[in-house]
Every structure is written in C-alpha cells, then in structure tokens.
C-alpha cells in the first residue's frame, strides 16, 4: 500500500526543515516579540522611577537667602537636643540677634511671646550652609529669597553661587522635607509652611471613613453572600454597586457638596468630607469582603449549622472571623483610596488654606492631597518644593499601606 498522489503545496516542503533558516527566523521573531511586549512594563517602571526621582530631587534645592535674622548657622551638636532643638537653637539665634540673655529667658517663658516666635521662626537642619555640612539655620517669614536652584544644577554651580553671594546672604542646600515641615502649621509663606493641619485632617478623614465604611461595606457583603437569594433586589444591589464603582469621584464630590454641605447645612467640614469619601470607598470594601466571605469553606458553615447555630451566629462566629484577613485587605485599600482622593474634597469645598489642624468633626479642614493641589497651583518655585515634600509624605504613607495589603493578601492566599 502506498500514498496516493496528493496536490503539492509550495508552502509546505516535504522535508522537515531541520535547523534551517525558517526555524532560526521563527526563534528570533519570538524573542523579538517577547522583548517588544515587555517594553510597556519597562516603561511603567521607568515612569515610576522618574516620578520618584523627580519628587525626591524637588524636595531639595540650593537657595540664596537674605535672612531677616542673624544669618548665622550652628553646628549640629551645638543645637541638637532631643525634642528641644527649636529652643536650643533659638537661644543661640536670639543671642546672635543681639537680644540680651535676660530678655531671651523672659521671651521664651512667656507663652504668648513664644507662640509668636514659633510662628515666625522655623529652625531647620540644612544639609549644607555656606559650604559647611549639616547646620542649624533659623528661617523666618521675612526672609528674602534671592535665588532657587534645582538640586543637580546647584550641585555643579554651588561654588559660583557662594562666590556671587553678597555679604549678609546665605547659600544653603534646603531640605524641604524635615521634621519641622511635618510638625508646623500651614502658612502663606513657603519657607515656614508645614503639613500638620493637612496631616491631621487626613487622619481624621481616615478614622471616620473606617468607622462608617467598614460596617456599611461588610454588612452589604454579608447580606449579598449569606442572606440574599438570587432575588431582584439582590441583583439590583449588585448592579448598582458595580456601576457606583465606575462613577467618577468628582461626581461624588458634587453629591457631597449638595447633600451634606448645603442640604444638611454641615458646611465644608471634616464630617461632610468623611461622609462623601465613605460613599466612594464602600464599593471597594464590599468587593474585598465578598471575595473573603466566599473563600470561607462551606463545610465550616454547615458544621456550625449542624451544631444548632442560628444564621447570625454563623455569620458572627464562623464566617467573619475566617474572612478577617481578606476584609482587612479591603479596608487597607479603602484607606489608601481615602488618603489619596482629591477631587471630591476639592469640589466639596475643603479649604486650600487651613492654618491649624481641625479641632472637631464640624470644623473646616484640609487634607494632604488638597494641600498638595493648592501648593502646586501657587505656581511658585518654593511652593513646588513644599508640594514635593508633601507628596513624599503621601507616597510614604501609601507605600506602608500597600505593603500591609500585599502582606495580608499573601498570607491570605497561602492559607
């Protein structure tokens, strides 16, 4: 028996192409394609790197200042005291400004005088002052900025800057992100502006959102997973949730502005912001909580029912304790969202300038991203540095949160 004649196909030679050009070309093409499709991943990494690099270098700048104070700087050891550096450096500075020693003591002892002094004078540890490393310098609201050079440009021309500086001027490498920045109140002057009010505002928002969104989100998830059968209502809730997740956050801001700020007459206060953000993050919590609840093995539930547990007992004692890791992940992601969300708060009317941290649920507030936005829109080089310092703080907080979420999820997956 032999094969019948078959039509010859030009595209398919009879013999196997062993190690021939075809195979080699095929292998090359595959390699090329793999390299090509990996490009966006590299680009994304590059962008992340460029962003971090840009933010970090923006938090450092070379400045020539005409100080309103003495213009003297003090060695690190001269001014350092645990939690008391401000006072120690200020003593040196006041003496250098020619204030008699007795007056220095009375100034610092009088709470009102001290408050004014603290508001006007910021004690900063500068990485570089007039050629000497790590020195304390007192900057004030009346300092005059002569020049501001970016980190790299200034690094090359710092000796020229120093040579060109007139008597009385100081050339410094200013690190905008320093402890003073975190602990100071906001100010119209970039040199003394601090992040404290925004930081406290963000913390209060996060606390309130957790308090509100967790019961709401977890309750919804438990209802959908453990109670609802495939009814119209359950389907409506589900469809609604998936659509809510797609509503632009700025629209939530409009809802908050209209309902909480205006109709309920709360005004642009912490509570209104927290309520708005709660509505925004509930879908995030629901999705994570549902996934966690679904991964609790049915056998556990059946065992509990078998022992005569009621449905609520099963939920509270079996389902939720076993789903806690997944739910926590969802909550952490919701917190991350809360911290970074800008548009709804902006629309709500969160103030761009709040001098002090909010002192209650009904006080006006600002938050870190709002503060960043307002500093960036100042369109002033020094405010840009302040904004980048705030961004670095924001990114650091987020990094910690994502780290926790990643860790939780990994632990969750390995179970």
């Amino acid at each position: 028996m032999s094969a019948l004649p078959r039509p010859k196909r030009a595209d398919l030679p009879d013999m196997l192409d062993v190690g021939g050009r075809q195979s080699r070309r095929r292998r090359r093409r595959l390699k090329a394609m793999e390299a090509a499709v990996a490009v966006p991943v590299l680009l994304a990494l590059l962008l992340l790197g460029a962003l971090l690099f840009d933010v970090i270098t923006d938090t450092l700048s070379w400045q020539v200042i005409t100080p309103a104070g003495s213009g003297r700087s003090y060695a690190f050891a001269e001014g350092f005291a645990p939690f008391g550096s401000w006072e120690r450096v200020m003593r040196h500075e006041l003496a250098a400004r020619g204030v008699p020693a007795a007056d220095v003591e009375s100034l610092l002892a009088d709470p009102e005088e001290r408050r004014v002094l603290e508001a006007r004078n910021r004690v900063e540890l500068m990485p570089w002052v007039n050629g000497r490393p790590f020195r304390w310098l007192v900057t004030t609201t009346s300092d005059e900025l002569v020049a501001d050079r970016p980190l790299w440009g200034g690094l090359r021309s710092r000796s020229e800057l120093l040579a060109a500086a007139e008597p009385g001027q100081v050339v410094v490498l200013n690190a905008w992100l320093d402890p003073a920045f975190l602990l100071r109140n906001a100010s119209r002057s970039p040199l003394v502006a601090g992040l404290l009010p925004a930081f406290v505002g963000s913390l209060m928002l996060v606390g309130l959102v957790i308090l509100l969104a967790v019961p709401l989100g977890v309750g919804t998830a438990v209802y959908l997973e453990e109670y609802a059968s495939d009814t119209r209502l359950a389907r409506l809730i589900e469809l609604n949730l998936s659509n809510l997740a797609g509503v632009p956050s700025v629209v939530y801001g409009i809802l908050g502005l209209t309902v909480f700020v205006r109709l309920m007459r709360l005004g642009p206060v912490v509570l209104a912001g927290a309520l708005t953000l709660t509505l925004l993050v509930v879908p995030v919590v629901v999705v994570a909580a549902r996934e966690a609840i679904r991964s609790v093995p049915p056998s556990l539930r059946q065992a509990a029912y078998g022992l005569g547990a009621t449905r609520s007992q099963v939920v509270l004692r079996v389902v939720l304790p076993n789903a806690i890791a997944g739910i926590t992940t969802g909550v952490v992601l919701a917190i991350a969202r809360t911290i970074g969300e800008t548009a709804p708060l902006l629309v709500l009317g969160a103030a761009a300038f709040v001098p002090r941290p909010p002192d209650g649920l009904l006080s006006t507030f600002t938050a870190i991203p709002i503060q960043i936005y307002s500093w960036v829109s100042e369109n002033d080089v020094e405010f840009t540095h302040v904004a980048s310092a705030a961004i670095l703080v924001l990114l650091a907080v987020l990094a910690v949160l994502y780290g926790i979420a990643y860790y939780l999820r990994r632990g969750f997956a390995s179970r």
Binding site: M1, A3, L12, V18, S23, R26
Partner: protein, 268 residues
C-alpha cells in the same frame, strides 16, 4: 507482588513492521514529568497508511506516547525525554528540530472537540493560513471537509460558527482542520470518547477511509473500537509497551497474559 512486577521487560511483537513501510519509528522512548516517569523505553514502529491503535488502562501512558510523537509534551513544564522518535528519517528530538515544523506534518485530533470560535471555513483554513498558503483556499477547504465526510452537512453554512455544530460534527470539523494542513500522520487522542454512539460510528468509518491517504495512530479505551478500526494494536501498561502486533492477533491470540486479561475485559 505489585502490578509492575508482572510486566515483562521486553515488548512481545508479532509480525513486525518491515522497515520500508515505517512512517514513524519510536526507539527506547522514556519520558518524565518532573520526577514521575511516564514512559519506560517504549519502542514501536508505526506503519504507513495503516491505522494503529494504542490501548491500555487509563494512566498507562498511551496519550503521553501519542503526544510525544508530535512533541506536544514540550508544552508541559518539566518534561524530559530520552530515546528517539524518527519520522521520514529525521530524529524529531534532535537539537535543531523545531517542534512547530513537526506539528505541521503530524496532525492531531483531541479527545474533546475543540473548534476555534471562528466560522467553519476559518477553522479549516487555519492550518494552511499558518504556513502562508497562497493557492485556492476554497478548494482546499472543500477537499478537507469532503475527506472528513462533513461537506454535505456544512457546505451551505461555511460562514457560520463552528461552535454551532453538534458534538460529532465538531469532531469531524477538527479532523477536517487537521487534514487541511496536509499532514502525513494523524494522531487521534480518544476522538470519540465525548460522542454518542451514532457520531462515534460516523467517525470510525471516517478513520477507516482516511488510511488510504494518511497514517493514523489512535488512542482508545474502547476495545471494540480498536478491533473495528485498527490494523495493528499496541497494548500499554504502566508506562511500558507490553505487546504489539496485528489487531486480529492481539485480540484473538495474545501472547502475554496481561494483554489477554485486558482485552477480555478483566481489568482496566
């Protein structure tokens, strides 16, 4: 005494295939999935223009053996192969052989019908398009569908989705799809296990027709099917080739006790 101990080391062969009739020659083929050894020194000669059936209990390695002929096992992570498979005088596991080239000449039909979510026409044209076929595609598609005995049923709806066909039709579409690539060998991995008896009968008659133009190697767990369609049968057990020979001999007069027990339905 375990089952493995009862397997003789040597494969028993009746009326071996003459070298000039060989389409595929397997020599001392062993295969490991990671630490698990799935094949033990299998040697088998597949004759041209005949149907060879691979039988054996599930897990005996018959599908693995089939898939190692067109190097489909390469797609599994951690596979290691020793020994040789020769086709047209070429050692398929040679260092310079591209598995893509191998699969274009040795076609495969799978256990479950797996047409692409495309039209019937595009399903059949898939293989020729892969090699950049520039001839008369309509004629090629028609020929493949006729060879797969599907033409009369689908000629009026070539542009409809292949997923709209019945299970048996889908499997014949998959056969037509394999035929359109002009392979000389077709591997079938339990092609009727997902089909009803009527569809199965249809495919079996088709297989018998196909051997006029192709060499067919079929894995089946159905003894009757092996008896009906194949010219030669190879019986495998726990990764070893126990016995092979003309189908009538294997079924009526096996020389190994293990083979006899299997073909008479006493295990498996």
């Amino acid at each position: 005494m375990t089952e493995a101990d009862k397997i003789p080391d040597q494969t028993v062969r009746s009326s071996p295939v003459p070298a000039e009739e060989a389409a595929v020659v397997i020599e001392d083929l062993s295969l490991w999935y990671g630490d698990f050894r799935a094949l033990y020194d299998v040697s088998l000669t597949v004759p041209r223009n005949q149907v060879t059936a691979l039988i054996g209990a599930s897990g005996c390695g018959k599908s693995t053996l089939l898939r190692s002929i067109n190097r489909m096992n390469d797609l599994v992570d951690g596979v290691r192969v020793t020994g040789a498979v020769r086709y047209d005088g070429v050692e398929l596991y040679g260092p310079d052989v591209d598995p893509v080239e191998v699969r274009r000449r040795i076609g495969m039909v799978f256990q479950k019908p797996n047409p692409f979510p495309k039209s019937i026409y595009e399903n059949v044209a898939f293989g020729p398009r892969l090699t950049g076929f520039r001839g008369d595609m309509d004629a090629l598609v028609e020929r493949a569908l006729r060879e797969a005995a599907l033409w009369d049923e689908v000629s009026s709806k070539l542009r409809e989705s292949g997923l709209g066909l019945s299970g048996g039709q889908q499997q014949r579409l998959c056969i037509a799809r394999a035929l359109a690539s002009d392979p000389s060998v077709i591997l079938m991995d339990e092609p009727t296990s997902a089909l009803d008896p009527i569809a199965t009968d249809r495919i079996e008659r088709l297989i018998t027709d196909l051997k006029r133009d192709y060499t067919v190697l079929i894995v089946t767990h159905n003894m009757q099917q092996a008896g009906r369609v194949s010219d030669r049968t190879a019986f495998m057990h726990l990764g070893r080739l126990v016995e092979e020979g003309p189908t009538d001999l294997i079924f009526t007069n096996p020389r190994q006790e293990l083979t006899e027990r299997y073909v008479s339905g006493r295990f498996g």
